[in-house]
């Protein structure tokens, strides 16, 4: 028996002497690997989970593979790019588990960027307070990023997908953000470009404070409480975006509040509680947008004036436009081109120039009611709204909402009526055949 124990002890000792590293040494930490990478060098990570947090202080490239993951310890930022790390590249990484602490000195995120000219590409971020936080960080490129917030619960407990504070000339492309407080939050950040970004299930897809000259192209904001809330900002360009399915009691596709000289062009507002909501804003250009099946196409508060609406298409909205707090001074045409109003108005076009021969005037009695009582929105889908409007028209209780001097002829309207007409004709013919056959049988 004793001999057997000797043999076992001897074998174990031999194994330990032969392979000391296997049992005694640990893998170098991610921080060690980052520190060991020379300036402007490339760190290739393996297909495994690395433990964070990690601080990058010099420009390097960190490149992962399809399943490379960096998991924070839940006490701070998972990856922090310090001021001295200008020009860092982070590629193909899954990053998770930042601190969610709201009582700390700073708000944490999966990636916090303090340096300039960085490239963040092909990243998947989850289980973090903010996704990417750019703080006084300029000229960065973010692309193919997928950020999933923690969703649900109280709004204060959630961070933003991407947060830009005093950060300028950044580009964000091909990104998907969902279940965060706000999709992208801008504050004092100018000249940024956001393109092909999909944001859903957030409070505001885009939340915007004191940031000027930013550009948004072909993004999708859907199923948020508010699609994009642009506040206290100037000269924002929104072109070719889709704002859809924002349907809560206070929801809107796009809100311009205290924001002037913005260009809203070729966007698609579809199935929102309010397509476009304008308050305290001046000189915005609303051109060539589609307002389709919203409860209210455009809600204009009287505090807003000098907007230009031209070449927009309004189709099957319950109320195409409503002005609350009195009629404001806005232009409903530009260069003799008004807007398409679908089946709201029957137009006459004798000279066939696709412009109605007589100006149209839209009147409604709902503005006063909406101003005083938000529950009116619950009744907008009701068929009795039209009767309510008719009764008030008869009693002269309506106010003029807008006057379009050059309404455009609607092509969709014609198609829709033709469809109905053909269908009815088809069923009348079927009915006639049926009656004739029955007569023959008798």
């Amino acid at each position: 028996m004793r001999r057997k124990w000797y043999w076992m002890a001897g074998f174990t000792l031999y194994f330990l002497l032969q392979n000391p590293i296997c049992l005694m040494a640990e893998d170098p930490s991610l921080q060690d690997l980052v520190d060991q990478t020379p300036k402007n060098g490339i760190l290739h990570l393996q297909n495994k989970t690395y433990n964070g947090n990690v601080v990058i202080t010099k420009p390097i490239t960190v490149k992962g593979r399809s399943r490379t993951s960096i998991k924070g310890d839940g006490t701070g930022n998972v990856i922090l790019l310090k001021k001295t790390a200008d020009g860092t590249r982070l590629e193909s990484l899954r990053i998770s588990h930042s601190s969610q602490n709201r009582n700390s000195e700073e708000e944490y995120s999966a990636i916090k960027v303090l340096s300039d000219r960085n490239v963040l590409k092909n990243l998947k971020i989850s289980d973090s307070f903010h996704g990417i936080y750019l703080s006084s960080s300029d000229d960065n490129e973010l692309s193919q990023v997928q950020i999933t917030g923690i969703g649900g619960g109280e709004i204060a407990g959630q961070g933003n997908g991407v947060q830009l504070i005093r950060s300028h000339r950044n580009q964000l492309k091909d990104t998907v953000i969902r279940d965060s407080r706000d999709g992208i939050y801008f504050s004092y950040s100018n000249d940024n470009v956001v393109k092909d970004v999909d944001i859903s299930h957030t409070r505001y897809g885009l939340h915007y404070m004191y940031s000027d000259n930013n550009h948004f192209f072909h993004n999708r904001f859907h199923q948020n409480i508010g699609g994009a809330a642009i506040m206290n900002s100037k000269r924002i360009e929104l072109i070719g975006n889709e704002f859809s399915y924002q349907q809560g009691s206070r929801s809107f596709g796009l809100m311009l509040q205290a924001s002037d000289e913005n260009n809203v062009k070729d966007n698609h507002f579809y199935h929102n509680q309010r397509g476009l909501y304008i308050d305290l804003s001046q000189k915005n250009r609303i051109i060539s947008n589609d307002f389709h099946q919203n409860r209210v196409g455009v809600e204009l508060w009287a505090s807003s004036s000098n907007q230009v609406f031209s070449l927009n298409r309004f189709f099957r909205n319950i109320l195409p436009v409503i002005t609350i707090g009195g009629r404001a001074k806005n232009k409903w045409s530009e260069g003799h081109k008004g807007n398409e109003w679908g089946d709201t108005f029957a137009l006459v076009d004798l000279n066939e120039d696709k412009i109605g021969d007589i100006p149209v005037q839209y009147q409604s009695s709902l503005a006063k009611l909406m101003e005083d009582q938000e529950l009116v929105y619950l009744f907008l889908p009701s068929p009795s709204i039209k009767i309510f409007e008719k009764i008030n028209q008869f009693l002269h209780r309506q106010e003029t909402v807008f006057k379009d001097p050059y309404p455009l002829l609607s092509e969709q309207q014609g198609g829709f009526q033709a469809g109905w007409f053909l269908l009815i004709l088809f069923f009348i013919m079927l009915g006639m055949i049926y009656v004739q056959r029955r007569r023959k049988v008798r």
Binding site: Y245, R250, L369, L375, I387, L423
Partner: protein, 265 residues
């Protein structure tokens, strides 16, 4: 079972059920055709809401006529008199009639919507849970207005009276009720909002529409104002069965208590 078979024979021989069904079919197909171009993967839910909104105009009217005529026919053809002389109480007769009418109409419409599910699958991203939500909402609408129709059939003496009652009831639910709400709205404040909400959600059309939109995820209930939070004091998934129960019980009991015999002494 005999009653259900008898009811099926009566309803299938009449034109009402087939007219209702064919109307529902035409509407469904037409809206499907119109909705083909709906953007993004939420198109299916929007189609279901549009379909429901169109059904709201027709299904109440058609189900009122189908179910009320099923009762008045028993009175006019004197079959009610024969049944009641066979030691069967009016309550028992009415219960069997209710089960028969409800079961047949529900099954007929279920068959149609299951058949429609096939083209839906080709046109949209088909979400099974959304489809079930739609079916639940639609069938609740059908059942409530069937029951109201049975009630009207029970309290009216003749066909002319019944036609008037049906049209008035339909007009009341679709138009007048909401008009009354709209005129009352300026007086609603935080103190009386709960009472207003109870009355609001007792209208089955309000509850069903609200349930459908919230259950399909088109109307989120988070981030609501204080007033709206007080308005929606109970989740819609509870409001729906409560409304159904209230209308079924009320219509059934009133049918028994206020019944007219239609010439039977």
């Amino acid at each position: 079972m005999t009653y259900i078979w008898k009811e099926w024979k009566e309803l299938s021989r009449g034109k009402g059920l087939w007219l209702a069904l064919s109307t529902a079919m035409i509407i469904s197909v037409f809206i499907l055709w119109q909705s083909k171009s709906l953007p993004s993967n939420q198109g299916f839910e929007v189609y279901l809401v549009s379909l429901y909104e169109m059904n709201v105009f027709l299904i109440p009217l058609l189900s009122l006529f189908i179910s009320s005529f099923a009762v008045i026919q028993e009175k006019e053809q004197k079959t009610l008199m024969i049944i009641l002389t066979k030691k069967e109480s009016y309550r028992s007769f009415f219960l069997k009639k209710t089960i028969g009418v409800q079961l047949i109409t529900v099954l007929m419409f279920l068959c149609w919507y299951f058949a429609l599910a096939l083209p839906m699958k080709f046109v949209f991203f088909f979400h099974v849970s959304s489809f079930w939500v739609f079916l639940l909402t639609f069938l609740t609408l059908l059942i409530i207005f069937n029951q109201i129709g049975l009630f009207l059939g029970s309290i009216c003496d003749n066909r002319m009276q019944l036609i008037g009652a049906n049209i008035l009831t339909w007009f009341f639910f679709i138009f007048i009720l909401d008009l009354l709400f709209l005129y009352f709205l300026p007086r609603v404040n935080e103190e009386n909002i709960t009472a207003f909400s109870v009355v609001y959600f007792l209208d089955p059309l309000h509850t069903l529409h609200f349930y459908l939109e919230t259950a399909l995820g088109l109307y989120p209930l988070d981030h609501m104002s204080r007033l709206m939070k007080k308005m929606v004091w109970l989740p819609p998934k509870y409001l729906l069965p409560i409304t159904l129960l209230v209308w079924l019980t009320l219509s059934f009991e009133l049918s028994i208590r206020l019944r007219r015999r239609g010439g039977i002494s």
